[in-house]
Subunit: 248 residues, 2 copies
């Protein structure tokens, strides 16, 4: 039984994810937005690499069925419907829609883990829902790999701490579980900040940058532990909510 | 004033090292070997990527002036003079010699930071010597970047903790200094283990692997804080001891 963590400074090698349940974390803000949108009834979130790709893909939908969303350097993209603030993804706005999302960090991480058995998207707002799935996987003999997307391929404190919260809960009482050095470091970071996410975000460089750019309310939304208890599953290049028919 | 840390999972971008004093850390065992050899009078250490390259380069030396050293998967390379155990690099063996060293992790890190202003090699055995140089650099307005070589491009606990020891000492009393998320995480790891390097190495995966392979004595050597107070400088593709004539 293995629980490994990979800091997003390097995307994991194929051997690190093959046959595993992979968790991709981008707390500020893509993972949080995805959980929020799916919890509010969005049909699917389609992560795309570039704004151009999003515009092209949108042509295969009726205009009223789709929302173009995402950010570049934290700000909304010109001509897009929404930016990357969780608060924008209300039920009134997203219910029944397909969301074409272009992000700086999350997309690359998702594409890199294509050899995984299953890929789920995690953040603080859907922590316990994902934790439940991870526990079931480990009980069934599937190893876990947690990939921290990071910020522009740099180590991000908030993604590592969120990964560490998973490691902390998964290792508890499992003396036989093995984990890599990054998992130990992540658990230690979680131990330092605990659930004081306000302090965590105020310390993390991307949290500071968001606050300075006027997105302090987003930080509050990203810190709302278990506010959106969904399990977003990435399959066939789109992310959908794990529903009762797929529940295991 | 900036003090940043880069975990070796990704080598730093050129912009992260340009104009900076760069510290490369590979505690287990390359950095420790380099400091030990230079302290024991080796003329220079030449890091090379492959055993073949080392053999080829050796032809330009008189056989008695050169030592072929290094490891693959922790073990000595067939036909080489020495492996990668600090204890092998005694004064009797290395004095006056040029050491052609082929390592798995350290060489790539050194080659990646070629845009730096200066590159020094650090470990616990030469910690305070390097710290003194870093303090002087910061006082002179030069930013610092600390690169953890890691183990096969994975995050290594012991390199991060050693980096954190530098961050801890450098940030003390410098409220104006800025640092990245990895520097904060590294400092926290140092705080967790402090100078209990036996515990650090016993926890780190590469430390465990070395102990299992019979290299427990090497771990003791790598934990001897300040035993070899030299400043190894990488320049023109070789590492030499910063001597009085270059002291600043």
């Amino acid at each position: 039984m293995r629980i490994d963590v990979h800091f997003g400074t390097q995307l994991p090698a194929a051997g690190d994810v093959a046959g595993r349940l992979v968790v991709v974390i981008d707390v500020l803000r893509a993972s949080t937005v995805i959980a929020t949108a799916l919890d509010h009834g969005a049909r699917a979130v389609v992560p795309l690499e570039s704004p151009d790709e999003a515009v092209t893909r949108a042509r295969s939908f009726s205009r009223e069925d789709v929302l173009l969303t995402g950010e570049r350097r934290m700000l909304a993209i010109s001509g897009f419907d929404l930016g990357n603030s969780p608060r924008e993804f209300s039920r009134e706005v997203v219910e029944g829609k397909s969301i074409l999302m272009t992000t700086t960090n999350g997309t690359a991480a998702l594409l890199a883990v294509s050899g995984a058995r299953d890929v789920v998207v995690a953040s603080y707002v859907n922590f316990t829902a994902v934790l439940t799935m991870l526990r079931a996987a480990l009980r069934g003999g599937t190893d876990v790999a947690i990939v921290c997307a990071g910020s522009e391929r740099r180590f991000s404190l908030e993604d590592a701490a969120c990964a560490g919260r998973f490691v902390h809960h998964l290792l508890k009482g499992r003396s036989e579980a093995e984990s890599n050095d990054a998992a130990l470091a992540a658990a230690l970071l979680h131990g330092r900040y605990g659930d004081n996410l306000a302090k965590l975000f105020a310390t993390a460089s991307h949290g500071k940058a968001l606050a300075a750019a006027g997105f302090s309310d987003d930080l509050l939304a990203c810190a709302a532990i278990d506010a959106h208890p969904v399990i977003p599953v990435y399959q066939d290049r789109q992310i959908t909510k794990l529903g009762p028919e797929r529940e295991r």
